[in-house]
């Protein structure tokens, strides 16, 4: 089977600069837009974003009139199948990547679910990762006031802080600390207009497979469980535990990211967004020097200590 086409989900709160980011990443001579289809989900009646993106992207498909959540996944399926059809018939240049831009309030999890479970799509597309734009100007307030904004940060693989040219460096540093608390596993980068952006930033997977950073114990963020293991992890016990945890508390487990030593040659990368578990990947080698298992879980309202104890009891019981 041909290699699956990577899908990057671009998310971010209203006004966080997603469209500007996409314009910069896909346009302006960098060649980043070649072979990239952009699927815009337009929540409003006026497809303003659609027109803006179309100026730089080669192909833009507008998904429905609502948001690309569970209710709308059929539209997303149809759009991606159409793109696949055009690609396979050679009507469009070879599809190198699909970028799905979500509306400001959309939850990215159903999009991942759709691509991962559709009987056709899952053989032709693979979710590469979630890129989230957050605005250095309005971001701090949005993060405090809006649960949706915090949730978007939680599911990110890579966070691009926009408008960093409009605030003091100290403000950017403070915001980065807050983002790190909310999502210890994501890569956080500045993306203001004073920074040049590499089109490769859309290729989230490369960093998605990197070992999540496990903060030192005294800086442990609330709501996140970050662990390292000094022994190989029993894959059977771990997967039984995680599947039961997600069954019972999937809504409260916003994100799971792990690189586990399962006593094989290379590590196993585990990546889950709420109930949606990506196919675990066996990597050929450890990227860093030390083969240490790392696990980061972002939890909402679950007792972190109890979750950790539960995991340890399951691993011991194996």
């Amino acid at each position: 089977m041909a290699e699956r086409r990577p899908v990057t989900v671009v998310s971010g709160f209203l006004g966080s600069g997603k469209t500007t980011l996409l314009r910069r990443l896909l346009g302006a001579g960098g060649g980043g837009g070649a072979g990239v289809a952009v699927v815009v989900n337009e929540a409003g009646a006026v497809g303003l974003d659609h027109h803006l993106v179309r100026q730089v992207a080669e192909r833009v498909s507008l998904v429905g009139g609502g948001c690309a959540c569970c209710e709308r996944r059929d539209d997303l399926v149809r759009t991606l199948r159409e793109l696949l059809d055009l690609d396979q018939r050679g009507i469009i240049p070879r599809l190198r990547r699909v970028v799905i831009e979500t509306s400001g309030l959309a939850d990215p999890a159903p999009i991942l679910f759709t691509v991962t479970t559709d009987p056709v799509l899952r053989h032709h597309f693979a979710v590469d990762g979630v890129l989230v734009a957050v605005d250095a100007l309005q971001g701090p307030e949005q993060l405090e006031r809006h649960e949706e904004s915090r949730k978007q940060i939680s599911v990110a693989d890579r966070i691009l802080v926009t408008k960093t040219d409009l605030v003091e460096p100290a403000a950017v540093a403070g915001m980065t600390t807050r983002l790190r608390e909310l999502n210890p596993a994501a890569e956080i980068l500045r993306a203001g207009l004073d920074v040049s952006l590499d089109p490769a930033l859309l290729e989230v997977g490369a960093s998605g497979r990197a070992a999540p950073e496990v903060p030192r114990s005294r800086h442990r963020p609330t709501g996140a469980l970050a662990l390292t293991f000094d022994r190989p992890v029993d894959w059977i016990a771990f997967s039984v535990w995680l599947s039961l945890l997600l069954h019972a508390h999937g809504e409260e487990v916003l994100r799971v990211k792990a690189l586990l030593d399962v006593a094989g040659v290379g590590p196993v990368a585990v990546n889950a967004v709420q109930h949606v578990v990506h196919r675990p990947e066996h990597l050929v080698a450890w990227a860093g020097a030390e083969p240490v298992s790392r696990l980061v879980m972002i939890l909402r309202g679950l007792p972190v200590e109890r979750v950790e104890r539960s995991l340890r009891v399951f691993l011991e019981a194996a």
Binding site: F113, S239, H275, R279, H282, V307
Partner: protein, 108 residues
């Protein structure tokens, strides 16, 4: 609706992923596959016992059979289907954070 509910499952469930891909489909592949299933059944059975249930392999080692003490049983393909089936048979939710369950598991 989610993958854990068994929605459109014609693909391998993620918990069944194996990382020794040599000889998939061959006779040499069968032994480690069965060994892995047995290990999974052992730990799932210990969890289910806390709720008055049990699990065993079907004859072909392709499905799991979950049953309760009244003799009711259900065939499932993977853990994504097993936990909801177990909850129906137990008549209560299964929770890995349940202190009683953790004490049972820790106590051997």
């Amino acid at each position: 609706m989610c993958v854990l509910c068994g929605y459109l499952v014609t693909d391998l469930h993620w918990t069944e992923a194996r990382f020794d891909q040599d000889g998939v489909g061959s006779a040499a592949h069968e032994t480690p596959r069965r060994r892995q299933r047995l290990a999974r059944i052992r730990i799932v059975d210990r969890v289910l016992r806390h709720y008055g249930l049990g699990v065993h392999d079907d004859w072909g080692a392709t499905s799991y059979v979950v049953s309760n003490r009244k003799g009711a049983s259900q065939l499932v393909e993977h853990l994504g289907q097993l936990w909801p089936a177990a909850e129906r048979l137990a008549g209560q939710p299964l929770d890995p954070l349940d202190e009683g369950l953790l004490e049972d598991l820790a106590g051997g």
